[in-house]
């Protein structure tokens, strides 16, 4: 639209009039009328118009073939019209020239401003639409660009790969969700979804595909969201008025949608990557859990306990935990670290992980030992009959034979007890072990061997538990393997602490743990939480074949001792106790017979106890 009245400045026109009017007869006046307004009116002495002008000459002013105004000259009676007409023509020509120049300047400026607008919009959109890597946030940011003045309703539908349809991902407007669900079920929507270019419908009632499903919708603007040639979804804007959307609105929407589509694609790709990574993590942790019945479910439950403790620490109003904030990244890091904390066990031989008895190898070798005893028993029986055949006195050989059997039974029972690893093996018992071992038995080829091999003696003599030194080293190595394995994963910045959190779960606050012997100050709060979560889960695990599930009070008692020994973090343990984190976890995961009363008064908070 031409706004000619803006093109000529009254001051400038006045100056032109001042130059020309003196050349006209006294009493002449000039008037400039533009865009239906009288812009300047002036007589030759710069005063008001004089009544009774005898002739009026009109010089039209034109722009783009249209009359936009006129210069009017009022001349007194008796003027020499011809000369005045030439002067008027000259003045009109000047005004016309100026008008055209200004018109041109304004069109260039208007065009430039449109580019400015587009550039500013792009600049803002690129920033606002790329703030988040969450698809929902991208959609929200896109809709926010329209929800002020541009439309009464707006929605983004996103293509859902699993259902093959489009899901309403975000919307604005009065009862927008209901409105757009109705819209989605319309024939018009089905038609638009299939299209690859956007457009405007000025009056929905004129569309044969629209049955007025949403009475409020009178006009519509829609656009497919396309990135890299792939249709990701659709933007729909609706207005309660007909003829609401202009070509400029569509252009603006196109600019925003192109940016939004790219951002949406990035967000979807990122979400897919994350999902894939999480499933990999789950595969590994499931594999560790599945490897051994002794730790089944451990890698699934430790993350839960760890996050429950972390949540409590996050909300704790204490200086001790200042600096720990459980934001989304921290939560993800801790969860992944907790799921993978035992991943080194994947490479630990299961005969070590599962070594329930001292003579367990791939098989429990106590049965081989028992077989040898059987050989000895039969040797004894053989000796008995041989003596009998040689005419020995039955009574005395019977007594010797029975004594021998009793002795063998006693020895085997002793060895079996040693093998279970349930009790401490004293040095006297080791001597007995060695004396039993010195007995000899004869194999099928008639060769004799000691009853127990060196290796069997070595294992049976293990003082505590079932693992010998080498095997204990292998177990401890799982923490090293965890570190080695995790350090090969190039974690993104947000997950850069996974290895540190996961690797420290066997460290002790006094620095006597493994693999690095780190002390409390060298371990982060999340790493210290892992230590507690790992121990608590191990103590209360309901599915360990070698012992009954521990009760809460028993687990807390043991952990309290670990606190006093400065193995676990005292502050965290105190919080674990005072905030009853153990109970919240127990109610979710432990059997009713494990949940007994924990007498908190037995475990005062603080360092000295």
């Amino acid at each position: 639209m031409i706004k000619a009245e803006h093109y000529l400045k009254p001051a400038w026109v006045r100056r032109q009039f001042e130059l020309v009017l003196p050349m006209l007869p006294i009493g002449s006046s000039a008037t400039l009328q533009l865009g239906g307004k009288f812009l300047v009116e002036m007589n030759e002495s710069g005063q008001d118009l004089i009544e009774g002008a005898s002739s009026v000459q009109t010089f039209p002013l034109m722009l783009e073939g249209e009359r936009v105004g006129a210069l009017l000259l009022c001349l007194p009676a008796g003027s020499k019209i011809e000369q005045e007409h030439t002067l008027g023509g000259l003045l009109a020509h000047t005004l016309q020239g100026m008008l055209e120049a200004e018109h041109e300047r304004h069109s260039v400026a208007r065009e430039t401003l449109e580019s400015y607008r587009e550039m500013a919009l792009l600049q803002r959109a690129v920033t606002n639409l790329n703030l988040s890597l969450k698809p929902a946030a991208v959609v929200e940011a896109l809709l926010k660009e329209f929800d002020r003045r541009a439309a009464d309703y707006g929605a983004v539908f996103v293509y859902a790969a699993d259902s093959g349809g489009y899901d309403l991902e975000g919307s604005f407007g009065k009862d927008a969700v209901q409105a757009f669900v109705k819209f989605k079920n319309s024939s018009l929507s089905a038609d638009l979804v299939a299209r690859t270019t956007g457009d405007i419908i000025n009056d929905l009632s004129s569309s044969t595909l629209w049955a007025g499903e949403v009475p409020d919708f009178r006009s519509l603007l829609w656009l497919p969201l396309i990135a890299h040639g792939e249709k990701l979804g659709m933007l729909v804007l609706a207005s309660c008025r007909t003829e609401w959307f202009s070509a400029a609105d569509l252009k603006r929407a196109q600019t925003l949608s192109s940016v939004a589509a790219t951002a949406l694609r990035n967000a979807q790709l990122y979400a897919a990557e994350q999902k894939m990574f999480q499933s990999f993590v789950r595969v590994i942790s499931t594999a560790i859990d599945a490897k051994s019945p002794y730790t089944a479910g451990h890698c699934r439950r430790v993350p839960e306990i760890a996050l429950m403790i972390a949540e409590t620490v996050h909300h704790a109003d204490s200086e001790k935990f200042a600096g720990f904030v459980l934001d989304e990244d921290e939560r993800n890091t801790m969860e992944i670290a907790a799921m993978l904390h035992d991943c080194g066990k994947v490479v630990t031989p299961e005969w070590v992980v599962d070594k329930a008895n001292k003579l367990d190898s791939i098989v429990n070798r106590i049965h081989l030992v028992a077989l040898r005893f059987e050989v000895l028993r039969r040797d004894a029986l053989l000796a008995y009959y041989r003596a009998l055949a040689e005419g020995e006195e039955q009574e005395s050989i019977e007594a010797i034979y029975q004594e021998r059997l009793r002795q063998l039974d006693e020895d085997l029972t002793f060895l079996e007890k040693c093998n279970s690893g349930g009790e401490f093996v004293s040095s006297e018992q080791v001597l007995r072990l060695k004396s039993i071992a010195r007995q000899r038995w004869t194999d099928a080829r008639g060769q004799t061997h000691p009853l127990l091999s060196e290796n069997e003696i070595y294992n049976l003599a293990i003082q505590r538990g079932t693992l010998n030194q080498e095997e204990r080293k292998i177990i401890e190595d799982h923490a090293v393997h965890t570190i080695n394995m995790l350090s090969q994963i190039s974690f993104p910045r947000s997950l850069r602490n996974v290895t540190e959190y996961a690797a420290g779960h066997h460290e002790r606050m006094d620095g006597t743990g493994y693999p690095h012997g780190l002390n409390r100050d060298q371990l982060s709060i999340p790493a210290r939480i892992m230590v507690i979560a790992d121990i608590f889960e191990a103590l209360t695990a309901p599915d360990r074949p070698y012992r009954k599930p521990g009760t809460l009070s028993w687990a807390i008692e043991i952990m309290h001792r670990m606190k006093l020994d400065n193995h676990i973090d005292g502050d965290l343990f105190d919080l674990f106790l005072s905030e009853k984190v153990y109970l919240a976890y127990a109610r979710k995961h432990l059997a009713a017979n494990q949940i007994d009363e924990v007498d908190a008064s037995r475990y005062p908070a603080g360092r000295e106890a």
Partner: protein, 127 residues
Amino acid sequence: MSKNAKIAIVDDEVHIRSLLEQTLEDLEGEPEILMAVNGLEGLALIEREQPQLVFLDMMMPLMNGYDVCAAVRKNPALADVIIVMLTAKGQESDRVRGLEAGANRFVTKPFDPDEILDLAREILGCP
């Protein structure tokens, strides 16, 4: 907006003046748009016309935007003049200087026409 609202544009660059003028012509109520091409002329214009709103460039010949701004702020008769400073993108220190000189708002060049319109509407009290 009152019918005779006045807006001054003080900038030595002709295209900025043109574009600002063009933008402001879209305002409701047809405010009078005045222009000056340097700081000295701008200060004289502001003192003479007492506009409600001034778009003021920072770097100008004869007298820069800060000095114009400071001079306007010293004049009690011009206490109500709202000064919007035009700054080049990314010069945070300019803003600090502008604030010290008494500028009310800032717009970075190249400006967003819609941002200018929103700003003018807000300052002049348009619906």
